[in-house]
Amino acid sequence: MTFDPVDHMVAEATDLEHSARIGAIMNSEPGQAKGAPDAPPKMASRNLRVHYGDKQALHDVSLDIPVNQVTAFIGPSGCGKSTYLRCLNRMNDNIDICRVDGSVTLDGREIYAKDQDVVQLRTRIGMVFQKPNPFPKSIFDNVAYGPRIHGIARDREELNGIVLGSLERAGLLEEVRDRLDAPGIGLSGGQQQRLCIARAIAVRPEVILMDEPCSALDPIATERVEELIMELKAQYTIVMVTHSMQQARRVSDRTAFFHLGNLVEHGATSEVFENPRDDRTKDYVTGRIG
């Protein structure tokens, strides 16, 4: 499998060291990180193009998302990283003028296939949004929402178990254990975002998409959420859009850099930040462009 940006870079490469490094990347399977066994990508896109009306927002993005790792998308505003994220759980379906071409697969199966049920897809791929958006319901009902509509719990006892378990995994249970009936919007910003994470986890997804989950939070809350993300990756595959490079360096295993609707470069986080191959990547991670 070849990746267009890499092809391009190989063609441009002039020095041997450079091409040797590229060759090594080409030969390694995507999703391989830090000694993990040869696992197929959890999700993969090939030649993904997105148009809003006449305007093209994404140009031929081909990318693998490895399982049980945190993949970060970085890039300047408007570069298409959020658009790409929303393609992964077909949230762009809700936008009338948005047209998606190309392929996105989950465990090898095409999610844009005609017979793919979007409702079901979203139980396997959850989403957390930039601004915490708990429902105007109690904390319990927020987390119980997903299991209830999907009929996941057989009885009240099981539902309780799911809710408490999700709250615990999101690191929120201790703080709200005694007030599960209190309204969700009464929590602090950081707590609300963890509530939203608990809500997403409650339907037992395999992938969690996060669209700048910390940009509306203060530093302390941000730290807690970042810790949580790194705990969660053991059980879930996490894809995170972030506008903070430091956050990407702290939290993610792999990073993809987007620029003007193109996937410019991607790879292990340390590689992308310390040895960026493309000039645009280098400019961005060194802060020359923003």
Partner: protein, 429 residues
Amino acid sequence: MTETSETQARVARRLASRHGGEKRFKFIALVAAWIGLVFLGVLLFTVIESGHTAILQTKMLLKVTLQESDLQSNDGGDRAQAIAGANYNAVLKRTMRETFPDAKSRSDKRSMYRLVSVAAPYEIREAMLEHEDPVGKTLGIWVSASDDVDLIIKGTVPRTAPADQRHLSDKQMKWLEGHESAGGVEAKFNTTFFTSGDSREPELAGILGGAVGSLYAILVCLAISFPLGVMSAVYLECFAPKNRITEFIEVNINNLAAVPSIVFGLLGLAIFLNTFMLPRSAPLVGGMVLSLLTLPTIIIAGRAAIKSVPPSVREAALALGASPIQAVFHHVLPLAMPGILTGTIIGTAGALGETAPLLMIGMVAFIVDVPTSVTDPATVLPVQIFLWSDIPEKAFAERTSAAILVLLSFVCLLNLFAVYLRKRFETRW
């Protein structure tokens, strides 16, 4: 992993019924969206179907000869006056006897005379007066048929209908059809409907009285509510300090916008009629009541229009030395005017259709004359519709529907004009 696959199994089980629920929900919502469309269609169809025949009025051709002996005896007087004063009842009867020689007995003759409208003698007189020298000549005059004949010729009542619906005896039908095959019965354009006031006889009844009354009332309404409304909007939006009094005024205005219109009628009755002793049933009073109704609409629309003008316009004018009043009236107001006019037109369309408050101030009497000033007793078009709809005579049914069509056309035109104004002057700042 088994946790996930068990979850997925449970999810999959429910999917079909959830999608079914989605389809049902969407369908119910679609039906709800259609109900308004269907109703409007049925309403328009009903009104058009029952009212379109009112545009025609059946006339019968009579060959009338005015004889010297008919003229009013007038020693050395005006010829025209003599013609005007002739006994046209007698002329009509004579002509009818000549036209329908079969009617011999007294009862036959009486029923034969009833084939034409009670207006027939006057119509003959009008025709005679128009002619230069009618005496001794035989003129072909189309007179209005009676309403029973009218309904049959236009097909509203079938010719084979039983006697209680048809109101014409078999003999009358024979005479009528005989005259018809001779080319003497035709349905012509009903000018009377558009040129006369109300009448007890349906074939003489028209909407002009109601239409002119509405016009006067609306003019009075606009003359009061437009200046007051614009000035209030300007004051509240541009000059009023943010204190309790201003808040109180705003609460009042919002409240008045929601008060039932009949209460305004009670106010008009108690104060305009009783305390100020203004004339009852006059468009002047009707207009005053309507203006109070329309005022909140104009104020609210005006405020919105003024608010949408960017503050930079006012600031620029002030910076160039204009006084605050000048800045608003010379610069801001003209830019807000399209929005204000749109709101005013919509308010006017609403006022045009108002009935209840005008009933309270007496515009519900039976008035024949078309009003010539705002203080003459009059009625308005919606009240005219209300009065006619109560009359059991079938001939009035078609006129009620036709009057509704006229009213709806006016209201529709006003609203379309408002929409046009809004589109034409819609500026994006």
